[in-house]
């Protein structure tokens, strides 16, 4: 189908965009890369009074390092992230996960800020943000505030951002040098939404585990941080038994739903299988 009628605005500054959002009092939608919102408009599942298009705001597209973080302008395209040397050096987990986002012609338009603000629980960027304990900067009429990943995702397609705020920046802590990482995903076809995805980061200290981070995509209404499994590794190291125990533990930590793609039981099983694969691959990448 075709989109319903709407007012269209393409401001050139964030201030203008905020003013427009205020004017429509919650009836406007922010248009980023459009790879999720445009299909919703075409299906007429979304009927906003207005679209505030951020694509003409050049100041929202950048990748830079600051204060131990890699900071992304909200409108940074996924294709840019895929090839970014800073991402490859500092947050390689995000680079690997981004190659699972949709397909090439989706990633040329899709943005990191849009993906996170859309908050599809099966999406890759929210899982990575959760695993890395990242945060976003939201700008609203009263100024800026920082929202941590754990406080951002509320439920399916819902964040704690208010309708008069715009997500302007995504911040991910740079991964420790030598950290092992892996993003494992299972989908029926490459580029489809994950049935389950696992983001893993580990830091080795000899045979000990100095740090473990595990988060999911596709296992419920929000990305799930698998803290109890991380603790097993941080306590017992990376022996086969510890990895086995952590991979069993993760199945207890998620409450996935059944849908046409997979049953809840299957998703729970897959969470364990992919955790094990992710940890083994991360161990292969890690340098002591």
């Amino acid at each position: 189908m075709k989109p319903p009628k709407f007012d269209y605005h393409a401001p050139t500054t964030v201030e203008q965009a905020l003013e427009l959002l205020g004017r429509y009092g919650g009836d406007a939608k922010v248009l980023a890369g459009g790879q999720s919102l445009m299909p919703l408009l075409n299906f007429r599942l979304s009927r906003p009074a207005a679209l505030v298009d951020l694509n003409r705001i050049p100041s929202l597209a950048y990748v830079r390092e600051q204060d131990g973080q890699v900071r992304f302008g909200a409108m940074t395209r996924q294709r840019t992230i895929e090839f970014s040397p800073v991402v490859r050096e500092r947050v390689p987990l995000l680079g690997e996960a981004t190659r699972w986002v949709g397909h090439l012609p989706i990633r040329t338009r899709g943005t990191i800020g849009g993906s996170i603000a859309h908050a599809d629980p099966a999406a890759e960027c929210p899982a990575v943000l959760t695993a890395l304990e990242g945060e976003v900067v939201a700008r609203g009429p009263k100024g800026e505030r920082i929202v941590k990943a754990k406080d951002l995702f509320q439920t399916y397609l819902a964040t704690s951002l208010t309708p008069d705020e715009i997500l302007v920046e995504v911040r991910m802590p740079a991964m420790p040098a030598g950290a092992g990482y892996a993003f494992e995903e299972f989908a029926r076809r490459h580029g489809d939404f994950a049935i389950v995805g696992i983001a893993a980061v580990i830091v080795k200290d000899g045979a000990r585990c100095a740090l473990a981070r595990l988060a999911t995509a596709g296992t419920g209404p929000v990305p799930v941080r698998l803290r109890a499994a991380e603790e097993i590794l941080e306590r017992d190291g990376f022996s086969d038994a510890a990895i086995e125990a952590a991979s069993r533990q993760v199945c207890e930590l998620v409450s996935p739903d059944s849908d046409i793609h997979a049953s809840a039981d299957y998703r729970r099983h897959l969470t364990g299988v992919l955790t094990k694969r992710a940890l083994k691959r991360a161990l292969g990448v890690a340098r002591v």
């Binding site: 790879q35 445009m38 299909p39 075409n42 299906f43 694509n55 397909h103 090439l104």
Partner: protein, 166 residues
């Protein structure tokens, strides 16, 4: 209909202009306003890939983008691939290797493959399969398309890796 917007863009090297509602999809603008029906409309929600075009040098879905968003851009559609009466090496390879049957997905396949080979000039068979997974073909079973893209890679100067599928 007072809220029409003017869209100016360069398509296949030619300056074009049209007026449309802001809600008009880029693919419909190309087909209806500019008469360029080579770009196909399939699913209209960014899944099938038939509408893929090159937008400022990168492959993009024209069914999930508004025409007004393309104002000021440079677009390449399948009509612009042929140069001086000569098929593009990708088109030649699709013909040679039976990379199409009904032809519905072909414009999207060609534009996707064009961007794919730009960033990966010497792909393996598996990489080609991942690259073209962006476009659905209901006829060929993909083998001919994979062969065509790998053959085009060789013609365009990249050395295809691996043995299988050649």
């Amino acid at each position: 209909m007072s809220d029409l917007v003017t869209v100016r863009l360069k398509v296949n090297g030619i300056e074009c202009e049209g007026r449309c509602e802001p809600r008009k999809l880029l693919v419909d603008f190309l087909r209806e306003d500019l008469g360029l029906t080579g770009t196909h409309v399939g699913c209209e929600h960014g899944i099938c890939g038939a509408c893929t075009i090159m937008l400022n040098g990168e492959a993009a879905r024209s069914c999930i983008m508004l025409a007004v968003q393309a104002d000021g851009s440079e677009i390449l559609t399948v009509e612009g691939l042929m140069q001086n009466g000569k098929l593009h090496p990708l088109q030649e390879a699709f013909r040679e290797h039976h990379g199409l049957q009904c032809g519905f997905c072909t414009p999207g396949m060609l534009m996707t493959a064009l961007d794919f080979l730009k960033t990966n000039p010497s792909p393996t068979e598996a990489e080609v399969r991942e690259g073209i997974s962006a476009v659905l073909c209901r006829c060929t079973g993909y083998q001919g398309i994979v062969n065509a893209v790998r053959a085009a890679a060789r013609t365009l100067g990249g050395a295809a890796k691996g043995e299988s599928g050649t």
